[in-house]
Amino acid sequence: MQTFLKVTAAAALLATGACASQPKPVEEAKPAEVVVPQQPEVKPPVVESSIQAGSLEDFRVNVGERVYFGLDQSSLDSDDQDILKRQAAWLSSYPTVRVLIAGNADERGTREYNLALGEQRANAVKEYLVSLGVSASRIDTVSYGKERPVVAGSDEQSWALNRNGWTQIVSGATS
């Protein structure tokens, strides 16, 4: 179930064919055609040469800012871990950067339980980054429960996208 939903989420974000075989929605890492227009950060392919190293855009496009969770899960699978390894490496290259990790849940749960679940997810991301050597003092976490959906839809694909841990740079990036 978890795998299926993750694949569904990936399919929602990625172009057909080769990309659809990817198990995770790593949309920021590759040029991809967008099929979920509501998601603001999924923009048409960006030419890499125009991205300044150490910038917010660099992090978003070349590293990936979100990991996605299975239904009711806050565990990180190997795809999540790959994204977080890239985040940790990037953060070690730019040691003044501070991040806020937001934990989010889909709308198919009740408000208070989802706040707890979101906190569990944000913390899972934080702990993994810390285990890779990122200082805990550079990381804040917040749970938005089901209050901040990335996409507005009420279907499996939208729910899968809305179950995420979102690493947001709050300061220290080059502009």
Binding site: T110, R111, E112
Partner: protein
Amino acid sequence: MTQRTINSIRHFLAVALIALGLAAPASAQLRVRVDEGNFQPTPIAIPDFQVTGANGDLARQIVEVVRADLASTGLFDLQNPASFIQRDLTINAEPRFADWKIIKTEGLVVGTFEDLPDGKVAVSFRLWDIYGGELMRINGEPGRRLTTTPENWRRIAHKISDSIYQRLTGEDPYFDTRIVYIAETGPKTARVKRLAIMDSDGANQEYLTSGRSTVLTPRFSPSAQEITYMSYEGGKPRVYLFNIETGRQELLGNFPGMTFAPRFSRDGQSVLLSQAQRGNTDIYIMNLRTRESDRLTDHPSIDTSPSMSPDGKSIVFNSDRGGSPQLYIMNADGSQRACPSGGRDTACRITFGKGRYSTPVWSPRGDLIAFTKQEGGKFYIGVIGTDGKGERLLTEAYLDEGPDWSPNGRVIVYFREARPGASPQLWSVDLSGRNERRMTTQTDASDPAWSPLLQ
């Protein structure tokens, strides 16, 4: 409750409902039974009040609010004034019972409205049992007289409704109350959520916060003067206290982690809440006088949504320690208790049905717990005995969430998203599962909480 049962209840709702007490002999006093399966609303008549002074409009408005309150219960059939035969009613004389029997009235309210020399207004009323042929005394008195300032007229109306409802049903009153909720505006991905308050019938809607910070899950103190809720003020989700009179907001406690899911203890001296720290949510109780908090659960799973029993001895809460969200009861002092399913434990699971259970709220009467249940792509509002027996589902929708009780434990308010993508609205349902009604709010609305009876 099966899908079919729920549907058949829905069909009844169009008709308005409930039993009467009065198919009985004339010697039995009029009594409206709220639990009978014979869905026949009791016909009652509330003619316009006799007016002394120049404030006839106010008198008519008061009567309209009383009629609307009583009709909203589904228990009464408010008769059309055009059908009334007797037009010369006075408060001090017996009505002509025969005239009212012709139109099958069972209960008759006769009232007067006066402008007083000091600028206040006074309303008096009496309640007649037509088939019993007698006056129904209210608290031992032949009638009731209420005095207030004219701008307070809606509260007079609700108090009249409360008296009539209480006298006819034997249930405690609940109309003279308020409901606090979250007013929602804006797109789903950038929702603005404000604290809002209204009378129990939806009048006097007012916003209490600006919407600058997202606020969630408000709940009343037992005095109805304070609200506790969660706010993202300053970006950090924390539990706050809000004083309705002063509008002052105060951070509750000095917890290092996120605090949420607050609810007052029954004596109003403490607030139960959840704190999440390092990925783990547990339940705490904070004493409002000493500002000291005690940790009530210590478990690696999520423990949240605590609600205290009316006697203050037990707490029902939501935990996923069994693998999915379910309801548990613990002693308020953390000691071991005898579990209904056998054995002793510090937390006894009470839900074992299929599905996920959350948002438990202990009934003011003490015998039931209302909850949200999620199963098979639907959400339900239901109730279950504190021993885990007698689960009944009262409502069903794409999303039905967050029940709270009227102070008499008779009506449950909750919010609903009727279909995928539909916006949230407030609804209420009778404990019997009948009389599902939408409550009108100025904006989309969620997280309703009912106040105690106002003083």
